[in-house]
């Protein structure tokens, strides 16, 4: 036979100094006491039925809502109220009544199980007050810090917006300057071009004359060489001794072939040799230096123009890749690197090689060139300045476009990084950028995700950051990291874990999520029941 369980319970309220007995059925909170009137029929709280009062807490479930058994485990959906004097009151599921496990710190849930429970409410209350106090302090200080952060962010934002406005203004001026300098450059380049062309043309003519002279001398020399019998004529037989002249390259230079070369004549004198020379000069080997191939004339077209590649940007259409670079490495806000890769401008005078070095420009031309070069340099400098300005504007605009919270309180995290070292790895969180993991004892870094979005609960999405699309996992997803933000005075990564393969969880404290502290008087003192 089961026993009828105790109906009434005593509650001692300590706040008034003297114990006050409040009688009510076991497990009923004070707020619901009026529904449980002794010796009057009890109506289930859902109104479904009415039962005699002796069936309340009789260890049999009569009400569908479990309200007739607040102090026993009879109803599957019931709940039990523990007062927990000294700590905070709470409800536990009825199934935890007398299950041998101490759930209520005032031990009231284990009144018939044999479990040895000790009343730990006072201790817990103290501890909790301590914790709450500390938390309150942290919240308070954190909230103050947050205000500063908001203030700074506001200032910073204004500054930056101002800066952008200024820079936009400067940019306009720069653009105008660039245009003006472009005109100057183009104006200076026109006479330069003409003077250079003139110079070049003169030089070409001079070169042609020299070449002609050289050819004539060679022809005369060849005539003398060929005219073996020195009779003032070159004959068929004399020419035939030069096998290299064989037109069909079959190895023999026949008489007929020689006659062909000689235009049908049996012999030629110095004046008529000219036409023969035209036929043979490409193949002719001088007898004095027979093996050396005739120096190949550099055809005039191949003479290298002095290279001055100064009419285009050093990295045309490079903006896109620069943008990507920025994403990769945001700390380089200003692309100082650009300076290093600008090509040095070559001057034509120094650039010529072989013996046929071009004559130096005449002073007038050189003056024009120098003037044009200066115009080009000026133009480039101004263009570079404009590009830098653009970069700066873009960076600031990008920063301004981030959602740094309702009051921009998360702004200060931008372009910062925070590390946590565990037994195996160094974890690095760069807010709004990426999360990574690096083995402590060497090894390459793994991307645990790049900034995705705020993804906290609906009522406050700023409590969770999500970083996605990190390095892929074998047979699994790409790595991703969830960062949970809690209020703290300091900005620190406090823990990391990998609850699922390749899904990381990071705990991060920051003043930026500290809420306005609640009134300290609301701390539990164990008397709210009254």
């Amino acid at each position: 036979m089961t026993c009828l369980h105790l109906l009434l319970t005593l509650v001692f309220a300590v706040s008034l100094g003297t114990p006050v007995e409040i009688q009510r059925p076991r497990g009923v909170p004070l707020t619901k006491k009026p529904f449980y009137e002794e010796n009057k029929p009890f109506t289930c709280l859902d109104g479904s039925r009415t039962i005699p009062f002796d069936r309340v807490n009789d260890d049999y479930c009569d009400c569908k809502d479990g309200s007739d058994e607040p102090g026993t485990a009879a109803c599957p959906n019931g709940s039990f109220h523990c007062t927990n004097a000294g700590y905070r009151p709470m409800f536990i599921p009825s199934s935890r009544i007398n299950d041998g496990i101490c759930d209520c710190c005032d031990t009231t849930d284990e009144y018939n199980s044999g479990a040895k429970c000790e009343n730990t409410c006072k201790e817990l209350g103290l501890k909790e007050r301590d914790v709450l106090q500390k938390m309150a302090e942290i919240t308070k200080e954190g909230f103050l810090l947050k205000q500063q952060l908001i203030e700074e962010a506001k200032k910073g934002r204004e500054e930056k917006q101002g800066k952008v406005t200024d820079m936009q203004e400067n940019k306009k001026q720069l653009e105008e300057k660039v245009e003006a300098l472009r005109t100057v450059k183009e104006t200076a380049e026109q006479p330069e071009k003409e003077a250079k062309e003139r110079h070049l043309k003169a030089w070409e003519e001079q070169k042609a004359a020299i070449r002609l002279e050289k050819d004539k001398a060679k022809m005369a020399e060849a005539f003398l060489e060929l005219d073996d019998n020195a009779d003032g004529f070159v004959s068929v037989s004399e020419l035939q001794s030069h096998a290299e002249l064989d037109p069909d390259a079959d190895g023999t230079l026949t008489e007929t072939e020689v006659q062909g070369l000689m235009g049908g004549a049996a012999q030629v004198d110095t004046s008529t040799f000219e036409s023969v020379w035209t036929n043979i000069k490409d193949k002719y080997h001088s007898e004095s230096q027979p093996e050396e191939p005739a120096p190949v004339e550099t055809p005039p077209e191949e003479v290298k123009e002095p290279v001055v590649d100064n009419d285009s940007e050093p990295f045309p259409e490079d903006d896109i890749s620069e943008e990507e670079d920025e994403d990769e490495d945001d700390e380089d806000d200003y692309h100082e690197d650009d300076d290093k890769v600008l090509p040095t401008v070559k001057t034509p005078e120094k650039s010529h090689e072989d013996g046929e070095a071009m004559l130096p420009y005449d002073p007038d031309t050189q003056t024009l060139i120098d003037a044009a070069q200066k115009a080009r340099d000026d133009f480039e400098d101004s263009e570079k300045a404009l590009r830098e300005m653009d970069d700066q504007i873009r960076n600031i605009e990008k920063e301004l476009s981030f959602d740094f919270g309702p009051d921009a309180e998360f702004t200060y995290l931008y372009s910062q990084c925070y590390e946590l070292t565990t037994s195996e790895y160094i974890y690095r969180l760069c807010p709004f950028n990426r999360v990574s993991q690096k083995p402590k004892y060497g090894g390459s870094e793994t991307n645990l995700g790049t900034w995705g979005s705020w993804s906290g609960p609906e009522n406050n999405k700023y409590l969770v950051m999500k970083y996605e699309h990190g390095t892929g996992c074998w047979q699994g997803p790409n790595r991703s990291t969830t960062v949970k933000l809690t209020c703290g005075k300091e900005t620190v990564v406090t823990s990391t874990s990998e609850p699922s393969r390749c899904e990381y969880l990071m705990e991060f404290t920051t003043p930026a999520v500290c809420q306005e502290p609640a009134n300290m008087d609301l701390l539990p003192h164990g008397h709210e029941e009254l």
Binding site: R96, I101, Q475
Partner: protein, 904 residues
């Protein structure tokens, strides 16, 4: 867990990551077909009807317990010795060995619980053609025919079963290597992939055929991922029995899996019989049937025209070594076959009650914090559970019996935390031992010389989780005794009484071995691995369970889960179906896989809820919980690479669905416990095919999408994606079934369409049964120990019902050693419900009482009286006319008392 799959791990597995990524399926190329297994190929090439074997009747000797007779192979003149035994309980044992083998041949020890008691055989008649022996009971005779040799077991004029009727008895005798032996026959050596199997003993295989006239349905021979009813194997591979770690196994084929139980059941409307082929070597089973190709219409036509040949199933067993040792269990009822098999190999171990609760597992719970937060998660979401599990990552460098010092620095603190919640833990202990001179277990095994040896006599080493590993020789009794001693609290550091064990990878799995297992020419003492392979896993679990019993001084029940198993494994704990996948078909196959195991003794079976590989959809996960909650071993498990799937991670609605079904499981724990007790006592399977209880109803013979739990609950889980309804077959003409959720009554012998939603789990209670429940579900089974019972009395059309109630302390062996239990019979007849004592000399006191009695299918009484201790007291009641449910309010008697409730 799990097969080797991670390329970066030390295993030198041949699966490439790309093939794994592209296809989700077993790599069949890693495993042999019959054609690639030399002995199977040789044996299968034999043609029926040409048996060279002849019985030498003049050699017949008959003693009290056995008959012996020599057989001769007329082709090679080798003599065999046939032994026939008539065993108590309607069984016949047939043993065939070489009369004078060159060396002894392996006979499997430790499977039979005792030498089976015999009954005398007598010779009824004898002439030159044969001998007729009496099998005692019911006009049963055994006929030995001489030329060719053949055995027929008959009852009256009917042949029940014949041996060698197709002449496929083939016994490869031990011999000396001859130069004339053809290399391609693989007699002395064979190579599979890069692995060469040296065969110093040459060919040793054996084979025998069985004919089953009148039989169209055969079952058993697990483990295969296939239908309950075995298929014919003509034109394909035979069913293979060879314990293997199969990575991402494929469904609906006869490939070998992690365990082997060489027991087949044959059933028709008249009789159920069993064949137990006691051999631990690689085994293949061919099945053919003369009706397999015929349609129902074709069969009917045969019947009408009277031209029907009698349906018959032919079975042929082929093993690589050992002897022929076969037990023929003659039934005739299904329950007779179960008790016959149980009398040979023992029954299901009686597990601690808590192990019937819900198990939460994952590869891996990362650290103590993780364990704590999962534990708290269950309380926060008010979901009961009993066991949380730790996979291989918990150990320090995969050195089992140790703890990772960073992740689990304080195991006892963690276990105490669980104990405070009255919960328990399982940690994995696999049989491969890391070769590491800094590891105590390895050093002791080495110094005691307990490792398996390779063919050259050095310690066998293979790759597994820890890298290079040794394999203890569990076939050695001294080795097992030592292993057991390692579970003592002072040996297994950090262990406590609520820590239990999981043996995985005990096929054994060898990542770089042939077919991912041990080389067949490795040595266990004088026997080759070839001889003992299929029993290795049994020994691992045996030694582990024994260790757990010993650590408590023989007081507490062990709980050990194993992946590999053999005949007899049921005595040592639970089995699960290995590394399945989060796919609907894998959910479906969990039913026939566990049903097949139940038929051959292993009742405590389950599949990984949710599926091990891959991520289940929420719907699949919910459906899997709903199915798993109604299977004996109920554990969720997941692969390392899957996303977390604790029950509360899928939104409040799905959390509620999962909570609800786990609560249903806990409410039914008294019934489950009683069924496990019954299985332990009688060998009756807990989870059963319908035909076990309805053996004459042919409609039940192929059903494997629904099942019975005991005799009284019928479950038809929803295993189709997006299902809006299922059709359940309710058996039993003239019987009724009650929907357990609504109490609606349905007639038996009908296909019932049941519309379903995601919350539906079609479950029915048999009219005529009484099921005790504990409806006050708490956070663990231990917390419910003293809770009261509600009796669900489901009346048959004749207003009758009966059931049982079993109660003990839930965890100790005192039920056995001190008879400390309560076993009550509950009977409703003549408008009176009576509890009477089934074990008057038992002593156990419970504080549990009867809080409520629901009588389904009742009519309204005018008065209800409780008769107890000579007194009569009125009992309050309510009657629901719409469903005819009578509820007796708080009769309040102690659950162990004698009482009667009278309805007037």
């Amino acid at each position: 867990r799990k097969s080797c799959a991670v390329p970066s791990s030390p295993c030198s597995c041949s699966w490439t990551s790309s093939s794994v990524l592209l296809t989700f399926a077993v790599d069949r190329g890693n495993f042999k077909t019959c054609d690639q297994s030399a002995f199977c190929k040789r044996q299968r090439a034999l043609k029926p009807g040409q048996s060279p074997y002849r019985a030498l009747l003049e050699t017949l000797e008959l003693s009290d317990s056995r008959l012996t007779l020599q057989l001769i192979n007329d082709n090679n003149k080798v003599h065999l010795l046939l032994e026939l035994y008539r065993l108590q309980g309607n069984m016949t044992r047939v043993k065939i060995n070489e009369l004078k083998p060159l060396r002894p041949r392996f006979e499997v020890p430790d499977v039979l619980i005792a030498e089976p008691p015999t009954e005398p055989l007598s010779v009824l008649s004898k002439d030159d053609n044969g001998v007729v022996l009496s099998l005692g009971a019911k006009n049963q005779r055994l006929i030995v025919s001489a030329r060719p040799f053949r055995l027929d077991i008959m009852q009256g004029p009917e042949v029940l079963l014949s041996l060698n009727s197709r002449g496929l008895l083939a016994f490869e005798h031990l011999r000396l290597h001859k130069d004339t032996d053809k290399e391609e026959d693989g007699l002395w050596e064979e190579t599979f992939k890069s692995h060469t199997d040296t065969k110093p003993n040459g060919p040793t295989s054996i084979s025998l055929d069985f004919s089953l006239p009148g039989v169209e349905h055969v079952y058993g021979i697990p483990e295969h991922a296939d239908d309950l009813k075995l298929k014919t194997t003509d034109g394909g591979d035979p069913y293979r029995l060879y314990n293997l770690d199969v990575f991402q196994y494929e469904l609906y084929n006869p490939m070998a899996l992690y365990g082997s139980i060489p027991v087949m059941l044959a059933h028709n409307t008249q009789r159920t019989m069993g064949i137990f082929w006691l051999n631990a070597a690689e085994t293949w089973v061919d099945i053919s049937s003369n009706t397999a190709g015929k349609t129902v219409f074709g069969k009917m036509l045969d019947f009408v025209q009277g031209s029907s040949e009698k349906p018959q199933t032919d079975v042929r067993w082929i093993s690589e070594s050992g002897i022929i040792d076969v037990f023929i269990m003659l039934g005739p009822k299904p329950s007779d076959v179960f008790s016959q098999y149980a009398s040979l190999t023992g029954t299901q171990s009686f597990p601690p009650l808590a192990s019937l609760g819900y198990h939460q597992c994952r590869w891996n719970y990362n650290d103590q914090e993780d364990v704590k937060s999962v534990d708290q998660g269950f309380d926060q979401h008010d979901i009961p559970y009993d066991f949380i599990w730790l996979d291989i990552e918990h150990a320090d460098g995969k050195r089992y019996f140790t703890w990772d010092p960073h992740k689990f620095p304080q195991p006892k603190e963690m276990l105490q935390g669980l104990m405070d919640k009255r919960r328990k833990m399982v940690a994995i202990v696999d049989p491969h031992i890391r070769v590491d001179s800094g590891y105590k277990i390895h050093n002791e095994i080495t110094s005691k010389d307990f490792y398996v040896k390779n063919k050259d006599g050095r310690n066998y080493e293979g790759w597994c989780w820890p890298g290079n590993s040794g394999y203890p020789d569990f076939t050695k009794p001294e080795m097992r005794a030592w292993w057991s001693s390692m579970f003592a609290y002072d040996q297994y550091e950090g262990s406590m009484e609520n820590l239990f064990t999981w043996n995985d990878m005990n096929e054994p799995s060898v990542f770089n071995g042939p077919e991912v297992t041990m080389h067949k020419d490795a040595l266990h003492g004088k026997w080759e691995h070839r001889d003992i392979h299929n029993i290795y896993g049994l020994y691992v679990q045996m030694a582990t369970a024994e260790g757990q019993t010993q650590r408590s001084g023989g007081v507490e029940r062990p709980f050990v889960l194993t992946r590999a198993f053999f005949a007899g494994s049921q005595r040592y704990g639970a089995v699960w179906t290995g590394d399945n996948a989060a796919e609907w078909d894998h959910l479906k196959i969990s039913i026939p896989m566990c049903l097949s195991l139940g038929l051959v003794g292993v009742s405590f079976c389950g599949a990984d809820v949710g599926g091990f590989f891959k991520n289940p959809s929420t719907e699949l996960l919910v459906r899997w919980y709903q199915t798993g909650a109604y299977q004996p071993f109920f554990r969720a498990h997941a692969h390392l690479d899957t996303t977390r799937r604790e029950p509360w991670l899928f939104g409040p609605e799905n959390t509620a669905l999962i909570r609800e079904v786990i609560r249903q499981r806990y409410a039914l724990l008294p019934y489950w416990y009683q069924l496990l007790y019954q299985a332990h006592k009688t060998g009756m399977p807990v989870m059963r095919p319908l035909w076990v209880d309805y053996p004459k109803d042919t409609a039940t013979f192929t059903i494997d999408d629904e099942f019975l739990i005991g005799s009284d609950l019928l479950v038809h889980p929803v295993t189709e994606e997006g299902s809006r309804g299922v059709t359940a077959y309710l058996p039993g003409a003239g019987e009724v079934w009650y929907d357990v959720h609504t109490f609606q009554k349905h007639n038996g012998a009908q296909n019932l369409y049941i519309p379903v939603t995601l919350s539906s789990i079609p479950v029915f209670q048999r009219g005529g049964s009484i099921i005790p429940r504990k409806d006050r579900v708490r956070r663990s089974s231990a917390c419910m120990e003293n809770d009261p019972y509600t009796l669900y009395v489901a009346l048959s059309p004749k207003k009758f019902a009966e059931g049982e109630l079993y109660i003990d302390d839930g965890h100790s062996l005192n039920y056995d050693t001190k008879k400390e239990f309560i076993h009550r019979s509950l009977t409703f007849a003549n408008n009176a419900l009576t509890s009477s004592n089934l074990c008057p000399d038992c002593n156990f006191l419970t504080s549990s009482w009867i809080e409520k009695v629901l009588i389904l299918g009742a009519s309204k009484p005018s008065k209800v009286l409780l008769k107890m201790d000579g007194k009569e007291t009125p009992v309050d009641f309510e009657f629901d006319t719409s469903m005819s449910v009578l509820t007796l309010r708080k009769p309040g008697m102690n659950a162990g008392a004698d009482w009667t409730l009278l309805l007037q």
